[in-house]
Structures are given as C-alpha cells and as structure tokens.
Subunit: 214 residues, 2 copies
C-alpha cells in the first residue's frame, strides 16, 4: 500500500472517531485522548493530521456539509417535479442524520455553534437550494405565484431545523420521518393551487435513494 | 429594609448577571467570577444563594420558562379567536427573546442542552399550549377538521424553534418578526377553510401586549 493511501485511511479513521465523540459528547466535553482511543490510532498520528480539537471539529463539519450537499445536488438534478424534490431533500437530510454518524456530529457541532451566531454557510447554502426548488415549483405551476421563493426556501430550512431539533429532544429522532410527513401535510395545501393538490400524496411519498457504495 | 427583602434583591441581581453571562458566552464558557463582577455582588453572596454554575443555569431556565408560560396563560385566556392567539403566542415569544435577557439566556441554555436530548419540559409545555389553541381553532371553524391538533401544535413549536434559530444565526434575530409573518402567511392558507381565509390579514396583525410593570 502506498504511503499516501495509508495516510488517507488513518485520517479517515480519525475523522470517524472524532465524529463519534462529538456526536456523543458535544464539542466542549469531547477529549482528544478519547478520540485517539475510538480511532484506534496513536496520539502522534492524530497530531500529524490535525492541529487541534477545533481543527477536527471544522473537518467534521466540512465533511458533513459535503455529504449533505452532494445529496442536494443529486436531488436537484434528478429530473423529478420540484415539489417531489423538496420532499426528497427533507427525507434525505433526515435519513443522513439518523444513519450517518458524521452527519449527526456535524449537525450537533453546527447547532452548538449556532448559539454564538455561526457558522452561517450551512444554513445559507441550504436556503439557496430550497429557493431554487421553490422557483422551479412555481414555474411548474405546482406552487402559487404569490409565494416568494426566497421566503419559502428560508421557511423550509427554518421549519426543518426546528422539527428535527424537537424530534431529537423528545424522541431521539425516532419520530423524525413522521414529523416531516406532518410538516408537508400541513404546508403543501397552503402553497399549491387547488387544481394541483391531488398530487400531495405522491409528493409526500417521494424519496431519493443514494447510489449504492462500491 | 427587611433581611429577606435584601436577600431577594441580591438573588435577583445574581440571576440577572448570570443571564447576561449565559446569553453572551453560553454555559461552558460562563465563569462564576465574571457573574460575580456582572452582578456587583460578592462571591460569598453568590455561594450563599447558589451551589454551582449548574444550579444558576437551572434557575435561569426556570425563570425564563415562568416568564414565557405566564404570557402563554394570559394569551390563552385573552378571549381572542384561537388563530389570533396563535399569532400572539409566536410574536410574544419572539418579543421576549429580543427584549428580555433572561428569556434569551434561558433559550440559549435550553438550545445548548437540546443536543444532549434534554430538557424536554419547555418543549412539551409549549406543545400542549399550541395543541389547545389548535383544538379551539377547529371548534371555531377557522381550521379544517382534518388537521390533527397534536400534530399542528407540535409542528408550530418545531417550526418556530427553527425559524428563530436560523434568524439568530443569519441576522442576530433582526428579521425575526418578518420571518414569523412569513411562516404564518405560508402556513395559514393550508389549514383554514376557504370561507375563513379573509381573516388571514387580521390574524397576522394580532399582537398581545404584556401588562405594564408597576
């Protein structure tokens, strides 16, 4: 195995261990010593790849954001009707939080930092994506043209953020899919023209499946 | 002045100083020494009233919850139509976060702890109140009876939580009132029967005014 490949594998192990730690304990209580244990690497290897806990947290947030944005891009170029894309986005973000420890850790770190007013980029990127979907849904005639795409995009991101937060507090995200379905059921009739509302059940059932890993 | 009165005033000063500290720095970075400075009291006085930082944080959260729930009770017994009460609840929670440092600190502490899955009570109490308002709105014919009150109550609390969180991250809550208006504008048409939708502007404009302090 090439030296670079080994280094990449080690780095990956560290990021996974760090994600597990941040997900479980949060930033303040996470300890580098425990991350070393969880990763099954040496302290020297950790400091070879990362300068500090802060550095590790930034990498976890970046990887989570990359994972999430890859799915967003794939859904936005799926060719599905825009409102189905919106449902896919919500369900896929929920699935990632439930199933992927790096995503869960990134979301927790972002949430912890949000009390201090940052980082803005994850929210801003996601709002822009939802705004694009809202524009497309208006073009397709599935959303009434009195809805302002930027306002709908912002509201979807805010509502989703809070719905998953409350689901996490009250049920450890056990009821997250159900709560997203209720969000769509309550929201869609108000933004769709009456003649398109027969599509609501189809939109609620729309899911995007990530391509199988090699 | 009676000894008890002086003690109550001192305790109040400490809680205010602690709220200022927690609001600015969060739980982990808050220091008891700085809380002593901010409160203008002695370290001895602080330890006479509170055992620990944890104890202080619990008291700030309790006071915030009491302030918020007092307003909720007043709004729920205001006699206003239920959907106007719902708008009043959202705007009053927003106003408290913007204007009251104890509320802001309590919300920040609750948010920080929510990553660890607790405390549940503030969310649960608020959901029950919103569910009661949703029931009343259905009884009054302003919300269609296919809406499940528990689901609407839960969604309102989730959506509000996230809308205020994203507003805080992106604008320091500068656009919070505007974002609440957009939430109501997007949500109301979908839950109201067509013959009642002429009331939407009136509902959006509904505000509750706290009684003036003595």
């Amino acid at each position: 195995m090439l030296k670079q490949e080994r280094a990449a594998i080690t780095r990956n192990q560290i990021v996974k261990g760090a994600a597990e730690m941040f997900d479980r304990a949060g930033y303040e209580r996470a300890s580098l010593a425990e991350i070393v244990d969880l990763s099954g690497i040496t302290k020297g290897a950790l400091y070879f790849h990362f300068k500090s806990k802060d550095d590790l947290a930034s990498v976890v947030i970046e990887e989570q954001h990359a994972i999430s944005m890859n799915a967003v891009q794939a859904i936005l170029s799926s060719g599905a009707p825009a409102l189905e894309q919106l449902a896919m986005l919500c369900y896929e973000m929920a699935r990632q939080m439930i199933e992927d420890p790096i995503v869960r850790a990134g979301i927790r770190l972002t949430l912890e930092m949000s009390a201090d007013g940052g980082p803005r980029k994850p929210y801003a990127d996601w709002i822009v994506s939802c705004e694009r979907v809202a524009c497309a849904a208006i073009d397709e005639g599935d959303v009434v043209d009195t809805v302002v795409p930027a306002e709908l995009g912002r509201f979807i991101v805010g509502a989703f953020t809070g719905v998953q937060l409350v689901s996490n507090v009250l049920t450890g995200r056990d009821d997250l899919y159900e709560r997203i379905d209720q969000m769509l059921t309550l929201l869609l009739p108000g933004i769709m023209p009456p003649r398109r509302r027969h599509k609501i059940d189809r939109i609620r059932a729309a899911r995007w499946t990530p391509p199988a890993a090699d």
